[in-house]
Subunit: 239 residues, 2 copies
DNA sequence: CGCGACATACCAACTGGTTGGTATGTTACG
DNA sequence: CGTAACATACCAACCAGTTGGTATGTCGCG
């Protein structure tokens, strides 16, 4: 449930006894990453404003001194969290198998299938840290807002090539652009997280993603064939 | 800046002396409503956790005593705000003209057109207070989460009759249900607000609603005609 | 009708705990 | 040994909630 951090304490080298906070903690130099990981986890659960620096430090097993050594302020930390979120998710999606499909539409639908599969566990586990922070900070911090916008729209950008190839193959109507559909996809995902959070029922989040898949199919599938109902999702190995 | 209390120390009772904070303030009995209205406005802008009770009181021109007289706690206030939001928006949508269209699909698309038109000004003005609070409170307060869920899903419910009629007319594939499409619509709207907040560009929020309209048309329009591109929105009078 | 008893709506000041941030050590590593 | 990476102790501001009080409306009863 926790994710990172849990079982990896044992770099502690008790021999040589340079004991520190590492009864369960990190080796020197890992405080920053630990704080960022903890930040993603805690902010996804409670939001940014409701999260205190002390909680962050406790979750990362470091002290406040370490926090303000690495981050100028809580706001700067939030910006770093957004960037950290962007880079860790980017690595994960880059390694996914949907890129290997031959047809561009299958790559697009494979992405959707993966997103649907990722909706599992509690909302704090499947929702988007950037989307959450956006809601809280858009009016009070341009730095946070822009970092979140980068996370969301850069990720959308990773869909554009497949989408524009699929649009070309399907000869879809000219009002659907690759960039627009990529953003629409992110909008539906963000909205599905909100429905999932509100209802405390992840099937409602998945349902929205299912309608998104159906919509994309209607737009991107070769016009002659009627769009069939829900497909069985491509099984995605989680390497 | 102080608000209430300003001119009232003098109990001077100029004429019969029923003077109160009403130099600019409210009459007796309006504090509760004023606080709720202020709550919607401030929470849409800054979120729930970042909003202090003092700020709420300042915005509503009342004192903290009045706040805690009407609301047991900040959490109870948030629940009341969600219900207030639900009822005020319900009144607005019930009075809208899209209900008057003859064809069910036109009522559905009229709703979408209205939603698109409502996206104007700053995100704090067009976004959903219930969606915003959901993100912050889903893990920390069941009462708030449920009040927000009611606001969102009850509103979705107002679309179901038109959607199921439209589905029947269009003989749409069986995997699209009225309730599911209604929820999907809300998901897209919530997501569009997030994109609008992140980008600080309402045209991106409107764009997502445009794709939603296109998707609904593809699903709900009689199958023989190919779905045309974006329609010019039905002009909606704001009586 | 008048008047006392009560209830409601509010207000100013206060409180105890919390929060983001700082000032000042201390420790490991190159 | 110098510097980056921490830790400890502390603080001033702030925050949700309380207290004790006042002004105003309302209701029952003689």
């Amino acid at each position: 449930m926790r994710a990172a951090g849990e079982g990896r304490g044992e770099a502690r080298g008790e021999a040589r006894g340079q004991a520190r906070g590492e009864a369960r903690g990190q080796a020197r130099g890992e405080a920053r990453t630990g704080l960022l990981d903890a930040g993603v986890a805690v902010i996804r659960q409670r939001g940014l404003a409701a999260t205190t620096v002390d909680e962050l430090c406790a979750a990362a097993h470091v002290t406040k001194g370490a926090f303000f050594h690495h981050f100028e302020s809580k706001e700067a930390f939030a910006v770093a969290v957004a960037r950290h979120w962007a880079s860790t998710t980017a690595v994960m999606f880059a390694a996914a198998t949907y890129h290997q499909a031959d047809q561009p539409i299958d790559r697009v639908l494979g992405y959707i299938d993966l997103r649907e599969q990722l909706i599992d566990g509690s909302p704090a586990e499947y929702s988007c840290a950037a989307g959450t922070m956006t809601q809280e900070a858009f009016a009070t911090s341009v730095a946070i807002r822009e970092a979140c916008a980068d996370a969301i729209f850069d990720h959308a950008g990773t869909l554009e090539d497949d989408l524009s190839a699929a649009i070309a193959v399907a000869r879809a109507p000219g009002d659907a652009t690759a960039a627009g559909l990529a953003r629409y996809t992110q909008a539906v995902l963000q909205g599905s997280f909100i429905l999932g959070k509100a209802s405390d029922d992840l099937s409602l989040a998945r349902e929205a993603v299912g309608y998104l898949r159906d919509s994309l199919r209607r737009i991107l599938e070769p016009a002659q064939t009627a769009a069939p109902p829900f497909s069985s999702p491509i099984i995605q190995e989680k390497t």
